[in-house]
């Protein structure tokens, strides 16, 4: 029980005891081997996408992609998304709103890695035709409403999507992800207040990775645990170890079932950490996981190397792998095979992007509205 043994856990005493006894005592234990392996595989795919993209940004001259890297937080995206409907008809799919740190959420929701890589490289073959870059990735066919470069609105818009679903009368739910920075925004209050008042099928997942952009969250939040805010709105507020995918799965599952049953919203705070800086690969070295040292962009706080290393010692993929090996769902050989395949997939995704055509300049006048195009006003 690698996860439970080292985790700062926020589960009930009964659940903690059950887990220590080798029976985790809640819904994750009912997952099939296939589901568990799929979750593990997705985490590994996200990790290697991020790592190899960091390396590409550091080593490939002229590469145009950039990203806010998700490495370190994989258990949150995968734990939550594994409780949702990620395929199906538009009236069956569950919806997700992401943040500027979107690639982990996108892959966990089911975005095609090739099309995502092409979009991040702003190619015509990208999932959003080169208009989005990494900050506006979107794919409604998998229920991924999308990324957002602005901090805060996603929560309120997510609650709005849940309002729409309630009007439709389906059993769909909406998850909005946000970082610890969301707490300070007016949208945070609006989202939870209205979702609570209207009992909307809404789950707000705050990934508290300790830093909003370049400032420690203590600059923006008066309490240690953002989940405590839920009490104000008379809704459940749950803290979870964001490095433990099964723990995340369990709390998300409960929240999703509540939402589907019409019992209203839940606020989940996942305690987690990002292995890289706010944006881009500053401080990272090719082939090495994580970014260390002074970040020239860090204005208010910069992350002590001890802190980064301490969190990396509780790596979500290592924790999950040890659990799955203990459960005999996985052995080290199979784990290595998953890793090799994931790396190969990333290589192929980047190859697809590299070989893809860039956008035609004039296309920039299209898609302002559903039909037609706007005039080229830069030309006399």
């Amino acid at each position: 029980m690698a996860g439970a043994a080292t985790a700062v856990t926020f589960l009930s005493t009964a659940a903690r005891r059950a887990r220590a006894d080798g029976d985790i005592g809640y819904t994750a234990k009912d997952l099939s081997d296939q589901q568990l392996l799929q979750m593990y595989t997705t985490m590994v795919r996200i990790r290697w996408h991020e790592r190899m993209m960091v390396d590409k940004m550091l080593t490939v001259q002229g590469y145009r992609g950039y990203n806010h890297f998700y490495a370190g937080q994989e258990a949150v995206a995968v734990g939550v998304m594994s409780t949702l409907n990620n395929t199906g008809r538009p009236d069956e799919l569950d919806y997700v709103l992401s943040t500027h740190r979107a690639t982990g959420h996108a892959l966990a929701k089911g975005m095609d890695m090739k099309k995502m890589a092409a979009e991040i490289d702003m190619r015509a073959t990208g999932v959003n035709l080169g208009y989005a870059g990494s900050m506006h990735l979107s794919d409604p066919s998998i229920g991924f409403i999308g990324a957002d470069g602005i901090v805060g609105p996603g929560g309120a818009v997510g609650a709005g999507a849940a309002f729409g679903i309630r009007a439709k009368g389906t059993r769909q739910v909406v998850v909005a992800f946000g970082g610890d920075g969301h707490f300070a925004t007016p949208h945070f209050h609006s989202a939870l207040n209205n979702a609570a008042l209207l009992k909307l099928p809404f789950i707000y997942v705050i990934e508290n990775n300790l830093y909003h952009q370049y400032a420690h969250y203590s600059y923006s939040t008066p309490m240690k645990d953002i989940a405590a805010a839920a009490a104000t709105y008379r809704i459940p507020g749950v803290m979870v170890d964001g490095q433990d995918v099964l723990a995340v799965f369990n709390v998300a599952k409960v929240a999703v079932e509540r939402a589907r049953a019409g019992e209203g919203p839940t606020l989940i705070e996942a305690k987690t950490y990002r292995y890289y800086g706010h944006s881009g690969p500053a401080g990272a070295k090719p082939g090495q996981l994580g970014a260390f040292g002074y970040d020239p962009l860090a204005i208010t706080s910069f992350r002590p190397e001890r802190e980064v290393k301490n969190w990396m010692a509780r790596d979500p993929i290592d924790i999950f792998r040890r659990t799955l090996v203990n459960w005999a769902v996985l052995d080290e050989a199979k784990a290595a095979e998953i890793e090799t395949k994931a790396k190969q997939e990333v290589v192929e995704a980047f190859q697809f992007a590299d070989a893809s055509p860039v956008c035609e300049p004039q296309e920039g006048l299209k898609h302002v509205f559903l039909k037609g195009q706007v005039p080229a006003r830069q030309l006399a």
Partner: protein, 324 residues
């Protein structure tokens, strides 16, 4: 006088004011209130004046503007630096409070405040939201606020000093894309008067008007045109409201041709106001304006760069207008 960066010139002006006025506050979110430049003393407002007066909290632009406004209402001079990712968040306060309170209270409420509204600089590749916010004309449209926009480090200082000294609220648009500029900036506190445009090159064949991030493009195009033997009068608006219609009209009276250049969206860009104001004063004259199309900025650099009114577009537009 010494060479200074954009940011250094600005913070030097703020430091001077804050040393004189012991209650003046500076609010910031992401842009550190610190600047250094070779051979000049490091400026760090947060260290020098402490966090009671120089403060950041969360990603909550509404708060920074509200804190400045509230401070102003109780007689504390305040400047808030609103980063480009969030400056529309403060628009409600500008529209409903900052611009109206003095008037609505029959002159009772005063707000000696400056909101520095950062523009992204339209970096290619950062897509819709982070290449955007070239939204100068939003502010000039609001009654009760003055709107200025510098295009050089020296004007960045002089306009900021004028804005801080102004008893009315000033929206100070900061084109972040110009922050790498360095030039000689006076050490002493000086004002660039609000409401006065700058004639950057004098000429008799065509008037080209821009502001902020457009100016480097306008000046590069003017240089090319001068080489072709065209005499260009290039004017930097500096103040969008009040607008220096006198300088503009005098110029077009001479050249009879007016081209405006804006990095913002075409519809209702500052150039539209320039042309409308000049057309009411000068006749006959020929007019043209170029601007970013009425589309959000796309991520793809191929699309984005093609859509920008860069120096080549300015040059081509001027040639067309001269031939007309």
């Amino acid at each position: 006088m010494a060479k200074k960066s954009w940011m250094y010139a600005q913070l030097e002006a703020v430091q001077y004011e804050m040393r004189r006025d012991k209650s003046m506050v500076w609010l910031f979110e992401l842009t550190a209130p610190a600047a250094s430049f070779p051979d000049l003393p490091v400026i760090n407002l947060e260290k020098e004046f402490g966090r009671t007066r120089v403060c950041n909290t969360g990603i909550d632009e509404m708060w920074y503007a509200a804190a400045a406004l509230g401070s102003g209402l109780v007689g504390v001079r305040a400047v808030a630096y609103i980063p480009y990712q969030g400056n529309t968040m403060v628009f409600e306060l500008i529209q409903e409070h900052v611009g109206k309170l003095h008037y609505m209270t029959g002159g009772a409420a005063t707000m000696p405040i400056v909101l520095i509204l950062e523009e992204s600089g339209q970096r290619p590749g950062y897509a819709g939201q982070h290449s955007d916010y070239e939204i100068d004309s939003y502010y000039m449209h609001v009654p009760g606020v003055k709107t200025v926009i510098p295009s050089t480090p020296s004007d960045a200082k002089g306009l900021l000093v004028a804005a801080m000294h102004d008893p009315d609220p000033v929206m100070y648009i900061n084109p972040a894309g110009l922050r790498p500029l360095v030039e000689d900036v006076p050490d002493e506190q000086f004002e660039v008067p609000i409401g006065k445009a700058a004639i950057r090159t004098t000429g008799k064949d065509i008037t080209i008007v821009g502001s902020g991030a457009s100016m480097p493009e306008v000046l590069a195009a003017a240089e090319r045109l001068q080489k072709d033997g065209v005499s260009v009068e290039a004017i930097d608006l500096r103040s969008l409201k009040p607008m220096d219609v006198e300088t503009l009209a005098n110029s077009v009276q001479k050249t009879r041709r007016l081209l405006t250049v804006d990095q913002t969206y075409y519809t209702l860009c500052p150039g539209a106001e320039v042309i409308a104001s000049v057309a009411a004063e000068v006749s006959p004259a020929k007019f043209k304006r170029i601007a970013f199309p009425d589309a959000p900025p796309p991520a793809s650099p191929e699309m984005f760069n093609w859509m920008r009114p860069n120096d080549t577009r300015v040059y081509e537009a001027a040639k067309k207008l001269l031939a007309a």
